[in-house]
Symmetry: C2
């Protein structure tokens, strides 16, 4: 791979720029970024990429194009690149849900052009190029999508790209991907947002400053609920079918919990509270989180 | 204060032993602990306290008695100490909810004896004396309860005790306490347990190993859902009135969220997702959490 174009240079885009440069994966890295504020940050940070104001130049001069914008930007960008894209170019993205956005891509991308979809399982509650890290993808899962129309040759090359960055890769179809992440990522974010929203509502109802006492649990949720709102709106809308199923099961289970509490069902509640405990151990064993109590933050 | 008795020497009890010793708050620290496994850990750790097998000796020889057991143990212990307790003794606890447990205390504790209630806002998902820390209470809130029957003199002395440990103290009644913590602590724990339970259910339904992909959000919740099940059962049962109200508002808000997602209500959802963001900033400003992205864990 000679040159790579990063479209959208926020947290993950800038991490790609840093990682690709550090691992010497490309000769040149081009950056296409529409936000003036981000451009001035990128310049200040002296990120190892060439800022291009022309999307056409970026695309023409690159072998791999990576979309790192919110998913709601894809359509507009696709309609532009259709004018100068060629079938040899590798295209991928880092979007967190796949079924609906794949429909947009299939509908608007010029026929004969292949877009291979990726989803690196990483990120943070902070946004912007100043928070990016060269090792953002190291040791993390990257899911690659193989659907009916996926080009096998491109898939192989994109897979090797993520491996060079240090990611562990796994291949699955859009359906399976969207189901899994509706549970392990989208529902947790929704629940965190909803919990913080409910705390805000209670603050108004009770007329008490609650937030100052958030060290007892709420603070953990506030981190996730501080994530980028555009990105998360796009994910919620894009994966709505599976997210709605997840919400329904969550509410059903919460109702059972409420009943157990109301009727002081000792055995039933202890079973739940001890069974969920095991998941933490599993997560630590699978190296999906650090093994220090309290995330090691104190 | 000369001597202090710690009843129940787990995570917080052992942290008190360490903190009291480090700050030289007492001459002698007595430990009453019923679990053999904990006793052998305490000996191995060489905690700076005297293990007493006789609750009577511990009580008689101490000026301050601190209950650090799950709240469901209070009644049994009260019936025992009633035989040798005297009105001059200071008694407190670290229980996380207050209204119902205060009723137990009022009902069973010998007349004329004062129990002043405390709630230090600290802890962790891990249990046992091996995880205690001398600075567990430093810079943390400790809520002291002032109800109709609270003895002002004792309250003052207990207040000064927590301040010596480095806590910031605040006084409120049981009602206000239980309302606040139903939102900032009890509901978050319940929601975390419920989210992990729902993920486990989905794993069965979908027959897919989800947990390995938990870095996208679920892992944060799994920490809280690994908390001590006995302690949390007690809290859920004890503060059930307020927790049920909190669950109801939470479900109501989640339903609105679902509707917004279903109907792609752009403005409404963006408003929610950006408003909740502010809470994180508030929490960090109030020093209720560290200011590093991702809890500084990577």
């Amino acid at each position: 791979m000679k040159n790579i174009l990063i479209i959208g240079c926020g947290l993950l885009g800038s991490s790609l720029v840093r990682g690709i440069s550090k691992k010497k994966i490309a000769k040149k890295i081009f950056i296409f970024e529409k936000s003036k504020s981000n451009i001035s940050k990128i310049k200040k940070l002296k990120l190892p990429g060439i800022i291009t104001k022309s999307l056409e130049n970026g695309v023409i001069n690159s072998d791999l194009i990576i979309f790192c914008t919110p998913m709601s930007e894809y359509k507009k960008l696709i309609l532009k690149i259709n004018n100068f894209i060629s079938p040899k170019k590798l295209i991928t993205d880092i979007g967190s849900s796949k079924i609906e956005s794949s429909k947009i891509i299939a509908k608007f991308l010029k026929k004969g052009i292949h877009w291979t979809r990726s989803h690196p399982i990483t990120g943070s509650e902070v946004s912007g190029p100043e928070h990016g890290k060269y090792n953002m993808f190291e040791g993390k899962w990257c899911v690659l999508i193989k659907d009916k129309n996926t080009n096998s040759k491109h898939l192989k090359l994109i897979n090797s790209f993520w491996k060079k960055l240090g990611s562990k890769t796994v291949i699955m179809n859009s359906e399976k991907h969207d189901k899994i992440f509706s549970i392990t990522s989208h529902l947790p974010h929704l629940v965190a947002y909803n919990l913080v929203k409910s705390a805000q509502d209670f603050e108004k109802i009770l007329k008490i400053n609650l937030i100052k006492y958030s060290a007892g649990g709420l603070r953990d949720f506030s981190r996730i609920a501080a994530s980028n709102e555009i990105m998360w709106r796009d994910i919620f809308f894009d994966n709505k079918t599976h997210i709605i199923k997840a919400i329904d099961l969550f509410i059903k289970n919460l109702r059972f919990f409420k009943k157990d509490i109301k009727n002081k069902k000792n055995k039933s509640i202890l079973k739940k509270l001890s069974k969920t405990k095991r998941v933490r151990k599993q997560i630590i064993k699978l190296k999906q989180d650090i093994d220090k109590p309290d995330f090691g933050r104190n």
